[in-house]
């Protein structure tokens, strides 16, 4: 099941294992330049607030009620990263992430099952966050909020009938017996990590467009496809609203003002390099790599 607590989606699977818990938050970040260079992780500006769409059934678009889930407010051109939080037991999950029902790792259309090749899911832990569309080995293109209708989102560039926008997530816990085995003998999984490397040679409504390049590894599955409990999954549609729609629906101003020049000036220095673990990383999607960025479209 999924609960909304402290602006996080809290996935839990008590029927699988008491420790099978994962939190997913959506974090505001500064937008990095789209100048061809790969930037390190930009500073974070806190979690986006989220509310149940059902709480505003009289004011949200009817379609949103059909799709269910939660909604969060974003300003146009604001950047977002998806952050995974896990407890002390580090119960592993396979997580599918899409924007406008376009898989953020492969560029493929949404499906409810996991695909091992090319891997269309992240594994958390170890993955702590995903900041954008996976367009190459060790690089992602930042998730940038754009209104639907401008042709800027990945969905509008790839789907025949773009209409969804938003972000979609689906989490699958590791099978309980695999987790117990892993807890007792973690070394066994280190061996599996090598096996997996051989198996995976490649690797109003708003949506998410493609921003600048960020250096970020999307790690390949270190556990193996068979460990995931694909019979037990929970998924959520996260609707993105612009500030005007948020105010119209909730009657409240968006809780945070858009980032200002000051934030960017300050950000000239505090970028922090992440130290990457030597886990094999996703090759990125050739489909997504060919899409046009917001900056490129603006230059036309």
């Amino acid at each position: 099941m999924i609960e909304l607590m402290n602006d996080s989606l809290c996935f839990s699977f008590p029927q699988v294992h008491p420790d099978a818990k994962l939190e997913i938050s959506f974090i505001r970040t500064l937008r990095i330049p789209d100048d061809g260079a790969a930037y390190p992780d930009p500073p974070r500006l806190g979690a986006f607030p989220m509310v149940h769409v059902d709480d505003y059934e009289n004011s949200v678009p009817a379609q949103w009620l059909e799709w269910g889930g939660v909604m969060l407010p974003m300003y146009q051109s604001e950047a977002l990263l998806v952050q995974f939080g896990f407890g002390k037991t580090r119960y592993p999950f396979a997580v599918k992430l899409a924007a406008g029902k376009i898989n953020a790792l492969t560029g493929d259309a949404w499906s409810n099952d996991l695909t091992p090749y090319p891997q269309d899911y992240a594994v958390s832990p170890p993955q702590e966050e995903i900041s954008g569309y996976c367009v190459g080995r060790g690089v992602v293109r930042q998730f940038i909020a754009m209104p639907l209708g401008l042709g800027s989102t990945a969905e509008e560039q790839l789907a025949d009938n773009p209409k969804y926008g938003g972000v979609q997530v689906c989490a699958y816990p590791m099978k309980a017996e695999e987790f117990e085995r892993f807890s007792k003998s973690p070394d066994e999984f280190e061996v599996m990590s090598g096996v997996n490397e051989e198996q995976a040679p490649f690797h109003a409504k708003m949506g998410l467009g493609l921003g600048g390049l960020l250096g970020q590894d999307v790690k390949l599955d270190p556990f193996g496809y068979d460990v995931w409990d694909r019979q037990n999954r929970s998924r959520c549609f996260v609707h993105l609203t612009d500030s005007a729609l948020w105010t119209a629906v909730t009657g409240q101003d968006p809780p945070a003002a858009p980032p200002r020049a000051m934030h960017y000036n300050l950000a000239g220095l505090p970028y922090h390099e992440e130290i990457y673990a030597p886990t094999p990383v996703h090759e990125g999607s050739r489909i997504l790599g060919k899409l046009r960025t917001i900056e490129a479209q603006a230059g036309d």
Binding site: M1, I2, E3, H52, W67, G68, K101, Q168, C236
Partner: protein, 121 residues
Amino acid sequence: MIPKENVFGEFVREKRLALHKEDKNYSLRKVAMRIQVEPSYLSKVERGEQPPPSEAKIVLLAEDLGEDKDVLLALSGKVSSDIQEVIRKRPALFAQLIRDLKDMPDNAVLRIIREVRDGNW
């Protein structure tokens, strides 16, 4: 008023001593220092010679011992202020709800936790 049964103090002492076996940072003095009370006061609380501390101190103690703050607050006979605020908004409704839940098994209570609803997409 000191509760007749020292369930709060005994629980805290039991958890602290269990942690102290593994880690000397959980001595009475060091825990007291971290939650900013006198060691003699914490000792009296553990022995039931003083009533449980304030909500703020109980929250700090729960964090320090790695326990659930709501469990410690309940053992001390308190309800956290955020929950009180929720109840104050609809007191009759929540009083009825809690009475109805009184004898319900855990799995049934879990079923009424509000879930994020998935739709057809």
